[in-house]
Symmetry: C2
Subunit: 279 residues, 2 copies
């Protein structure tokens, strides 16, 4: 068996950013923490923490901490009075800004949310650094189950003034040169919609605002046009084309070993997705 | 002089994530893009792009792109009809969720916002990867000017039910063991408030929700207590101690060379901060 008190020390160091913080949290001395880590590193045959400040965990350390969280979550299913386990999951920003938060009450854990970055969500799942993920990617990750949740609907929107100024001649490859608002460099929603709207490859450019609400505020302020989740589509925003929504599929990926422990959360997610998302 | 068409190619490749996207945006062939990058790499004597997919820029490449954006911004001050320049700035998440967005209309540029991560904002400024930053750090970065903006006020809040359940015996080092909501591992607001409230070193633990609105939603859903910006403090949230706010200073850091070009934005930021922040 692994040395679980040592894993707990490792987890607290990374979570709190210092050996002292971990010692205070666990009620032991900093030197006891150092000894546990040293023992664990000897056992594993590799360095687990790059001494800082702040101390940083190696990839192996992150996997060990994730394993500890999983064991604690499984223990919690046996013993409801056990200390709360931490559940690390990846969620895409627009889900977190709209339908997702209430499902968190379904499971009595401490959540550690990672804002999904499509590409990283798959790596994190594969390496065991997150236990589950909500992602638009339908492809199962080895060792994980995937459940389709439905579609998040987006509309291309801007202020009426912005539309009058930039789209008086309609929406076409030329007028779509108007500034867009883009979540980050991986956000293809604007390009995909522009291609659907024009039948041509269009590369919208504009402001990069990597926050769901900051994004919507920027569009409301007339800085550009952008794809707005249906749940956030409200005046003063107006449609570029109300008949052409963009539906983005969402999927719930769960590590197979965690499936039983996460069952109440998975149920809540499926129910809420059925109510809030498009089929 | 640097080869500006080559810098433009570099910028588009990194912004669009492909040589093809850059070629389409600039109206040239992909092989012309490759040649420009090859020439630039020879001139610089180092590799600038790690071929992907997606292609990734080296640190040097990011500095060159930032330099290009700065030159474009300075050109724009000479010629208002010049194509819009991109302005990369770091902003802390709570400012972006509250008072910051309207100031963006003060300058006709394309914004590329980076959510401030305190530590990185300083590095980015120093390396010229952002032109300016809003940060709680008062220490000037070499080559940058810093202006204090006032204080963002936070209150320790939770739902009335959460307070009744966890703080019936008052707020002390023991009851503050109740789950907190924490932005990310660098977020010290809860610890600082707990120390001010109890006079002891307390290390709150709980949910990690790295999104300003997701954070507030988690507190509203009763998942934990957390430090809520004054502008977002509303029912159903209630105070743990209404007489003990936490005031976090904010500062506007601007690269000295960019100061003239950014003057309208700096003015708007100072005006809005004076109206929306605490002195």
């Amino acid at each position: 068996m692994l040395d679980y008190p040592a894993l707990a020390a490792l987890s607290e160091i990374l979570r709190r950013g210092s050996f002292e913080g971990a010692a205070a949290a666990l009620g032991v001395t900093p030197s006891a923490i150092s000894q546990r880590i040293k023992g664990l590193e000897e056992r594993m045959g590799e360095v687990l923490i790059q001494r800082g400040p702040p101390p940083r965990g190696t990839q192996k350390a992150l996997r060990l901490v994730q394993h500890l969280d999983q064991v604690r979550l499984l223990e919690q299913a046996l013993d409801p009075d056990a200390p709360k386990a931490t559940l690390r999951i990846a969620v895409n920003a627009d889900s977190l800004a709209t339908w997702f938060p209430p499902v968190m009450t379904a499971l009595p854990v401490l959540y550690d949310l990672v804002i999904d970055d499509q590409d990283h969500a798959r790596d994190w799942l594969r390496q065991g650094q997150v236990s589950a993920a909500i992602s638009s990617d339908p492809n199962p990750v080895p060792g994980c189950d995937v459940t389709p949740l439905g579609h998040m609907r987006y509309h291309a929107m801007a202020t009426p003034e912005f539309i009058a100024r930039h789209f008086a001649n309609g929406v076409n490859a030329t007028t779509l040169g108007a500034p867009a608002v883009i979540f980050n460099e991986k956000d293809a929603a604007q390009s995909r919609w522009a291609q659907a709207a024009t039948g041509q490859r269009v590369h919208p450019t504009g402001h990069m605002i990597p926050s769901s609400e900051g994004f919507a505020r920027a569009v409301e302020l007339g800085l550009g046009w952008g794809m707005i989740p249906e749940a956030m589509a409200r005046p003063p925003l107006a449609h570029l084309n109300a008949h052409l929504p963009l539906d983005v599929p969402l999927h719930w990926h769960v590590q197979r070993a965690m499936r039983p422990a996460l069952a109440p959360l998975s149920r809540a997610i499926k129910q809420r997705a059925a109510a809030e998302l498009r089929p």
